[in-house]
């Protein structure tokens, strides 16, 4: 075989092998080669080649070409049957490993499925409207000395567009009022419902643009007539039970009576319109007269929105050009503020936080990345365990090779095996996801429907995952096993060290630890920041304070009730105010300072408070005195931040100076300076703040309770309150709950990160456990000999421990900067934040070490305590 033999043209030989009937292939191929040899000797290469080609072409005839149904399938099927049987036996034989791999894979797959459902939901936002590609929202950028963005438009703009412009098929205006109160009266009295999603005032065309199907009644007429309303089925049932809601009436915010004129089908989860109550726009005139005025260019409410359905072939750019005329013609409020309009595609609304979108696209990417990382972690387990286990299968591989199995066949065998396992894992994950989705929905407020399982894309998604796992997890062990030298394999000359590169497996473990540690770092930082924002001193007391809203605007009632409340046992302090020191939405106003005539170019947060406010909330004065009792604006308190913005160097100098606020109709002298307190969440700077008294603006009672018996005190407060306002719902909230709500997003992020971290650790630990138990078996002899030679158990444990400690340290070196960088970015969202201290990283490292130690502990200790006589005797 050593001498080089002439070979016929390869292409034609391959062509022949391809078309020839397998039954005759060997014989005829032999003939061809034989003839070629002799021709080669007689006639030389060129002629022999030609003759060969001619022969091949002449052989291409019906009797010799293979039939179309390929008999080979039959043979391979038998092979697959064998693969299946062998891999199934292997799964059953190594139950521990199989369980570890499949559990890890399905765990990560469940998360992947959840993430898929989540992303699918958010990408499908408002994609079910007929004209979805032509629907745009007009959004505004306000430019004066500072710029701001709003999803709303000035009230008159949509009217002008409708009257004057031709680029839009339809123009609709909506106003959404969040947090409303709905009152439904029946024979049993009045029932109050708090609707956080609020109501939408919509023009008649609304349902022509947005496809929310109607169940009963007419949408057009409902939205054309004043004081009519459409409810979703769900809400209709909530308000009226099984009765026919049409013709009944509801009371909006206790004042505006609306007649139910139609019932909508329930609004799907994937739309930005969360409200289930649609009120005719003509009712808006009475609801908010000042904003609904068609000449109101004084400001922009982000609730006032304008949607356009563009004519075909009109580009948003053209429309923006046309709208730029309105910028100059109609300045907003004071003359130097300009509104620049642009069109936002419908699909962008959900994602663009600049205009009030609630979901960042980047979050979806981060989730995708997390899902993939978890999947990779699980695949790493698989790779590690499979390559370690390959040792046991070297005999099988050897025999297969000796019997003529090719490397490629062995490769495909193991790929097939992996495919089988990943299929199994996918099945388990499907069941798991089915059980977990309702829980996850409740826990994270996700709205993933179980319909996701019947989605066409879900099938593609699962298919992709299946291929991904099979390739990611299967190819490396398959290559390793395919490469076994049959002789060595049969003689059992492999050890873990020279099997498939020990370093590859180390690298994989390091990778796993990196992923886990980055997640741990994130979780620890987020937890630290959450603790900080919830526990850090705010500059005022937030404990034991309950905010009770007022029943009406009557001036006498406000003070009278306050006096009653103070008398209740268990109430320590009561203050009338429009808001607590910290709130999500402040009242921002321009002010004038001293004898300046120009308004200053920053906004000041204004709070209306009475003289008990400082003592109730424990605010401290830096200088001057508290407000004295007053029913209208006379005296003012300012905070240090405001002084700083005003450029007043010392608090004392500010005392006695005059401030004009709220467009000039509030004037007062500064009587004291309050130490800075956090009036917003920690995401924001402390804003300049002004405290002053005006009975007319008070909206709540801030009541400081003695917490010893808060339940009965609250009940008593309610009783007193109800006596004054029998027809109103009693609403209260603890201040610390309200502050916790500032960080709702972060709390959700935290629990998600904790969950992901937990799973990453769990999967990693499972892999580690499998690997260690394997190593222990491999090293039984070594351990025995070492013990005979005088090693202590601790030293034996250290043999295993050393290896993993090194890997963890290595992983930490990679993970720490990555985690630091990621968390630095996350913390950027906060104006007040923790430092990522060294302690945090030591904590992470220690935590990982503990996890690893616990994971490998049992196996190693057991290995170390085996009597060497036993381990050495066994063969």
């Amino acid at each position: 075989m050593k001498e080089s033999r002439p070979s016929p043209p390869k292409t034609f030989l391959a062509f022949f092998q391809w078309f020839c009937h397998p039954r005759m292939l060997d014989y005829i191929e032999g003939d061809l080669l034989e003839v070629y040899q002799s021709n080669y000797k007689k006639l030389g290469k060129r002629k022999a080649d030609w003759k060969f080609i001619l022969d091949v072409l002449l052989l291409f005839r019906p009797g010799i070409i293979r039939p179309r149904t390929q008999p080979q399938h039959f043979i391979l099927f038998g092979m697959y049957k064998n693969y299946f049987k062998i891999s199934w036996r292997n799964l059953l034989k190594n139950k521990q490993y199989s369980l570890l791999t499949i559990a890890g894979l399905s765990l990560s797959l469940v998360i992947c499925i959840l993430i898929f459902g989540f992303i699918k939901l958010h990408l499908s936002y408002d994609d079910f409207h007929t004209d979805k590609d032509k629907i745009y929202r007009v959004v505004t950028e306000l430019r004066s000395t500072t710029n701001s963005h709003s999803g709303g438009v000035p009230t008159p703009l949509p009217v002008l567009i409708k009257e004057r412009e031709s680029f839009a098929q339809k123009v609709i205006r909506t106003y959404s009022a969040p947090n409303v109160r709905i009152t439904v009266s029946d024979s049993n009295g009045a029932h109050h419902y708090k609707e956080a999603e609020g109501v939408v005032f919509a023009e008649p065309d609304f349902f022509d643009v947005f496809n929310f199907p109607l169940k009963a009644g007419s949408a057009k007429s409902a939205l054309s007539n004043p004081n009519t309303v459409l409810l979703t089925e769900e809400l209709a049932q909530k308000y009226f039970g099984e009765e026919n809601p049409i013709g009944k009436s509801i009371l909006l915010d206790g004042e505006y009576e609306l007649a139910v004129d139609g019932v909508l089908q329930d609004i799907p989860a994937n739309t930005q319109f969360k409200s289930g109550i649609y009120v005719s726009f003509s009712s808006f005139k009475t609801y908010m007269p000042w904003l609904s005025d068609d000449g109101f260019w004084g400001g922009i409410s982000s609730g006032m929105q304008c949607y356009l359905v563009l004519q075909p072939h009109v580009s948003p750019r053209e429309v923006e050009d046309i709208l730029s005329d309105y910028t100059e013609k109609y300045p907003i409020g004071s003359s130097d503020t300009r509104a620049y309009y642009s069109l936002q595609p419908l699909s962008d609304i959900h994602f663009n936080s600049m205009y009030g979108g609630t979901m960042e696209r980047s979050s979806l990417w981060i989730l995708t990345a997390i899902g993939l990382l978890l999947l990779v972690t699980a695949c790493v387990n698989f790779v590690n365990l499979a390559t370690a286990r390959a040792l046991h299968r070297s005999k099988e591989v050897g025999v297969r090779k000796v019997m003529g199995g090719r490397s490629s066949q062995l490769f495909w065998q193991f790929i097939f095996e992996t495919a089988q396992i990943s299929l199994l894992a996918i099945l388990v994950a499907l069941i798991g996801a089915y059980l977990v989705i309702p829980m996850a929905n409740a826990r994270f407020n996700l709205n993933i429907g179980l319909g996701v399982f019947s989605d066409r894309y879900f099938i593609y998604f699962l298919g992709t995952l299946f291929l991904l796992i099979t390739i990611l997890a299967g190819s490396y062990p398959a290559i390793v096993m395919g490469r076994f030298k049959p002789m060595a394999a049969l003689r059992g000359k492999f050890s873990l060290q020279n099997l498939g590169g020990f370093n590859t497996r180390r690298a994989l473990i390091v990778g796993q630890f990196v992923i886990a540690q980055v997640m741990i770092i994130s979780a620890v930082v987020i937890m630290g920041q959450m603790d900080y924002v919830l526990d850090a001193p705010l500059g005022f007391d937030k404990d034991a304070i309950v905010m009770v809203s007022m029943g009406d605007d009557s001036r006498q009632n406000k003070t009278a009730l306050k006096n009653e409340l103070v008398r209740i046992k268990g109430v320590e302090q009561v203050s009338l105010c429009n808001d607590a020191p910290a709130s999500e939405n402040g009242w921002m106003t321009n002010i004038q300072f001293g004898d300046q005539t120009e308004e200053l170019d920053f906004l000041t947060n204004m709070k209306m408070v009475d003289e008990d406010y400082l003592s109730t909330f424990g605010l401290t004065l830096v200088s001057g005195r508290n407000l004295t009792h007053s029913d209208s604006v006379r005296e003012m308190l300012v905070n240090e931040a405001l002084l700083h913005r005003l450029g007043v160097p010392s608090p004392e100098e500010a005392l006695g100076r005059e401030i004009t606020a709220n467009g000039g109709n509030m004037k007062g002298r500064i009587v004291g300076v309050v130490r800075d307190f956090h009036g917003n969440s920690f995401h924001e700077q402390i804003s300049p703040t002004l405290l002053t008294s005006d009975l007319g603006y008070y909206e709540s009672y801030a009541i400081k309770l003695n917490m010893e018996d808060s339940k009965s005190t609250l009940a008593e407060i309610e009783e007193v309150w109800k006596r004054d306002y029998p027809n109103q719902p009693f609403e209260f909230e603890y201040l610390d709950d309200r502050i916790t709500r500032f960080y709702q997003n972060e709390a959700t992020t935290l629990s998600a990160v904790q969950l992901f971290t937990g799973i990453a650790i769990l999967i990693g630990a499972m892999g580690l456990y499998g690997l260690v138990s394997f190593m222990v078996v491999q090293k039984t002899k070594e351990v025995g000999i070492r013990k005979v030679m005088g090693s202590s158990s601790l030293e034996i444990i250290w043999i295993f421990g050393r290896e993993f400690t090194r890997l963890i340290l290595l992983a930490f070196i990679v993970a720490a900067p990555v985690g630091w960088f990621l968390m630095k970015n996350w913390l950027e969202n906060f104006e007040f934040k923790i430092q990522q201290g060294l302690g945090l990283y030591i904590l992470t490292l220690g935590f990982t070490c503990v996890i690893a130690a616990v994971t490998i502990g049992y196996q190693t200790i057991r290995a170390a305590s085996v009597n060497p006589a036993n381990s050495l005797r066994s063969e």
């Binding site: 005829i28 034989e34 291409f60 009797g63």
Partner: protein
């Protein structure tokens, strides 16, 4: 009669298999035909014919040894079955019958023409 019909090339192939007796594998058959009849035989035609004969039951085959110049591929040896013998004989008899039926005079004249 029709049942045992043999084509011209088929008959040649079968006869050659008979001649080669025990050593009849495709390349040998091909060489034999080419040397005896001075006509070139394509591998395709030969294999098709051999297969057809085998399917009809006139020939049977068995695998033989593999050699170096065949790169380890086995030879397939053919031998004539009893049925094949019958078909050959029938073919020969029908020819002979035809031969015998030709009038002598034709032979003479054509012989004479050959002489010219």
């Amino acid at each position: 009669m029709r049942k045992y019909h043999l084509g011209e090339f088929e008959e040649i192939v079968m006869l050659t298999v008979g001649i080669l007796n025990n050593k009849a594998y495709s390349v040998a058959v091909k060489d034999e035909i080419e040397s005896r009849l001075e006509r070139s035989v394509s591998m395709g035609a030969l294999h098709t014919a051999l297969n057809r004969m085998e399917e009809k039951g006139y020939l049977k085959s068995y695998s033989g040894e593999a050699t170096l110049e065949r790169a380890g591929r086995p030879r397939r040896y053919f031998e004539i079955t009893a049925l094949g013998m019958k078909a050959l004989r029938l073919a020969k008899e029908s020819r002979d019958g035809l031969w015998a039926a030709i009038p002598q005079s034709i032979w003479n004249s054509s012989y004479a023409m050959d002489q010219l």
